[in-house]
Subunit: 211 residues, 2 copies
Amino acid sequence: MSSPTTPRRGYHHGDLRAGLIREGIALLAETGVAGFSVAKVAVRAGVSSAAPYRHFPDREALLAACAAAILADITDLLAAAAEQAGPDPLDRLAATAGAYTRYVLEHRAGIDLIYSYEFSGPHHPTVQEQSRRLTGALMDLGSAVLPADVSWADTADFVYVHLSTTHGYATLLVKGTRPPQDIDSHAARAVTAARDHITGYLQRLNNRETA
Amino acid sequence: MSSPTTPRRGYHHGDLRAGLIREGIALLAETGVAGFSVAKVAVRAGVSSAAPYRHFPDREALLAACAAAILADITDLLAAAAEQAGPDPLDRLAATAGAYTRYVLEHRAGIDLIYSYEFSGPHHPTVQEQSRRLTGALMDLGSAVLPADVSWADTADFVYVHLSTTHGYATLLVKGTRPPQDIDSHAARAVTAARDHITGYLQRLNNRETA
DNA sequence: ACATAAAGTAAGAGCACTCTAACATCGAGA
DNA sequence: TCTCGATGTTAGAGTGCTCTTACTTTATGT
């Protein structure tokens, strides 16, 4: 095996499958799901419009592969951000909001995809698996924040709202109804918003116990 | 069931413009922006595929009209929910989260549109105006919750996060990665999440002042 | 060396959609 | 009543996309 990163040296591409996913994600970032087409991805990857069908049975399979790749990237980034945030559980969970926001701002519309398609169904097991990885990671971080006696279902709700808050904030930012600022500033605001939600949640738990 | 729209009385439709918008919103709810087409909307409204072009210059104009109508509906619903919530400002703002969630769950994917297109630009003044109406209403409710000395910019941030949280929660629900429950229950959770964020935000303000 | 499979290409059938052009019908005012 | 503008209709040109078929090129194992 010689260098595996040879981009299109001759008739064969080298690693077209990975190239298509990469260009697919880039196209999604620019045009959203609505503007996605196998033909455009093929052009971007520098191959004929029939070539992708050697690697994916149809358009939906390529979309699913992109969705799975995005989910995997996000999960890795969130885990890394939590790791970098130090030992405090609240810091760790809140940090994921910053990483998520950063990713969404950098990859723009691609995010719609991972929730938008019916990829949650058993028809796309790869996406489903990556989705579970993401929620699993968040559940670990979330349960570390909450008192030990909080049920699994309540933890799931809590984590779900945390993800929702972050996702909503980041996606609305992308759509650009707000004055644009640098990514760092946006990410910091997302972390603050996440902290506010977490402390509000904990305070409510506390009030309930002392009542 | 030939008419969710006004039944045509003869050759002429009666109010095709409004019918197209209504069916456009319904189609968006079913297929999302990706599945939207003028032709399909025309079929749903019971007219030929050329008829819409008497009322809208092109596909984008019809989409914009749908977006504006959705925004107007949401704004009215949020205002009504706040009114019904009573006098307490926190109750009033939190109630908008429930109304928003309810609307999104009932209209499903249509929500993507109002943020997704570049309708924020000056090219679509109607959408822009409805968008301002929505944020204006939220700003009123938001500033009533916060202490009087909070700046306009900080209030805007606060309101933005409130909307983001709600939007994210509702849209993730629609995409259905969670076990489905009745709308009331989801709306109630959205209100709780909004309250958590609001109290967390207020607590942070308080801590800052007493520091 | 050579058969074979994997991975590309060119060409095109078939389809849905956008939008235009020319014509038909209806309602309303002179 | 009669005409005219608004609002429908049918027909179709043009575009772009998905996916198939048949062919070409390259990598690889024996």
